[in-house]
């Protein structure tokens, strides 16, 4: 009984230690993310330029859409697939 109780206590202690480590890691991650966010905010001017050039995005988007349309309409039908079954 003492051995079992001792084992239980050991496991509970390990779980508590793991939970503390996990909390500490989560806190570190949160600090790291906030650091990145502050850095990005310092470069806000760069993102403002992206907003100002939003119509350039249309040009890039249009070319990708055109490519998708071409892929759809040039896609061969299943019966015509020249799959080498040998």
């Amino acid at each position: 009984m003492n051995i079992q109780q001792s084992r239980k206590n050991e496991l509970e202690q390990k779980i508590n230690e793991l939970e503390e480590s996990l909390s500490a890691l989560k806190l570190q991650l949160k600090h790291q993310e906030e650091k990145e966010q502050h850095k990005a905010i310092d470069n806000l001017d760069f993102y403002l330029d992206q907003v100002d050039n939003k119509y350039e995005n249309f040009r890039i988007f249009r070319s990708i859409i055109a490519k998708e349309f071409r892929e759809i309409f040039n896609k061969p039908l299943r019966n015509d697939d020249s799959v080498d079954r040998n």
């Binding site: 905010i41 310092d42 993102y47 907003v51 249309f58």
Partner: protein, 392 residues
């Protein structure tokens, strides 16, 4: 050292920038704000003259709230500025447009303005994971505004709670007829002269209807130009303050994010700029969707300041109605944020919808084009067609 009135961002950062340049830009902004008030007054006066007391009949097509909603949505999507459209609406209400017709237009303006940040998100289309994040960040605003309309437009039609609340507040601010607010009595003598000059001198020889129409067109053009220039100038002047606000919001809760979005939008006088700015930040994974969501909602509230400012230009018996519609805009956005974001179940709907849409769209980018075309143009056109056919 730059002497141009539109100083670049790099030059602003330079320690050699003259404070004269800053002062001249602020004076320019004050002049533009004055021009905004004159423009709103022009629209109000022009509409009153041209409509000749028949404003309600003129806008009878928009008595159907769906049609009015669509008008607000499409107009804003085309102009890409809810501030411009809501300021025009304030002017039209001052000219006699019934407030109950204007309310769905104002709700539609909220939806239409989200097209800008959706366009910005398309810039990330080359990288799938970036595009997925950016597109979700853009469309969450769309879904929130649509949900807001779905909830509050029927309630407004049934109970008129926004109209009544705004009227109650407006009466206490403005009083009876006329702008009797002590602090704003100085606006009438400042704004009236140019309006009267245009009406009674420049356009004197023309028939009333033509005079009115020209005044409305001039007013709309002026509002559009003013808001565009104010936005450009404030973006340059306030970028430092905007950074401070954003830094202060990092690591804090959603209420702080909402406040930051509100403040930043008031500073730059454009919800499109605020909501578009966070798209690349979300696309690059710096901010999560749940972090930018409340910030976006803050922009909805902050943008109401322009209509409230425009309402101060109106004097006379319709001043109270102009203030009323501006207050409706504000109350609608504020209550929308409090209710939808405040109730967990409702809060999650735009998040779920934006994530699902982004998941599908990243696999087939053309869905983004279909989405933009549908939400801002095709569906509004269909709604108008259906409502006309059904005789609603």
């Amino acid at each position: 050292m730059s002497t141009s009135s539109l100083t670049t961002l790099e030059e602003l950062d330079s320690p050699h920038v003259s404070t004269n340049s800053h002062w001249s830009q602020w004076l320019f902004i004050i002049a533009l704000v004055y021009l905004l008030l004159v423009a709103v007054s022009l629209i109000g006066g022009g509409f009153k003259i041209s409509a000749g007391g028949q404003a309600k009949e003129l806008f009878s097509f928009a008595t159907n709230p769906i049609v009015a909603l669509v008008v607000g949505t499409v107009a804003t999507a085309l102009i890409q500025s809810s501030s411009t459209v809501t300021s025009i609406i304030v002017g039209l209400v001052a000219g006699g447009l019934p407030v109950e017709i204007a309310i769905p237009m104002v709700m539609g303006a909220n939806i239409g303005t989200t097209i800008t940040n959706t366009i910005v998100s398309l810039g990330h289309v080359k990288q799938n994971d970036e595009f997925q994040r950016a597109f979700a960040a853009a469309t969450i605003h769309d879904f929130f505004n649509v949900l807001s309309v779905v909830i509050f437009l029927p309630l407004e039609i049934a109970f008129g709670f926004l109209d009544k609340s705004a009227a109650f507040i407006a009466e206490h601010i403005v009083g009876g007829d006329g702008m009797s607010m002590k602090g704003l009595n100085f606006i009438k003598p400042l704004v009236s002269p140019p309006v009267k000059f245009i009406q009674n001198t420049v356009l004197d020889s023309l028939p009333n209807m033509v005079t009115g129409i020209i005044m409305v067109v001039l007013g709309i053009t002026a509002i559009f130009l003013v808001i565009t220039f104010i936005g450009k100038l404030l973006k340059v002047l306030m970028v430092g303050k905007a950074k401070e606000i954003l830094h202060a919001a990092v690591g804090r809760g959603p209420v702080s994010s909402i406040a930051s979005g509100t403040l930043m939008t008031i500073l730059v006088q454009s919800s499109s700029t605020t909501t578009s700015l966070i798209i690349p930040l979300a696309g690059n994974g710096i901010f999560s969707l749940r972090q930018i969501y409340p910030f976006t909602l803050g922009a909805n509230i902050g943008t109401c300041i322009t209509a409230l400012l425009a309402a101060t230009a109106i004097t006379g018996p319709n001043a109270i109605f102009a203030l009323e519609i501006a207050l409706v805009h504000f109350l609608y956005n504020l209550i929308g944020v409090v209710v939808i974001y405040g109730i967990k179940y409702l809060r999650e709907i735009p998040i779920w919808a934006a994530l699902k849409l982004a998941e599908v769209t990243v696999k087939h980018k053309m869905y983004a084009a279909i989405y933009i075309g549908s939400v801002f143009f095709v569906i509004p056109a269909l709604l108008i067609g259906i409502s006309q056919t059904m005789g609603w």
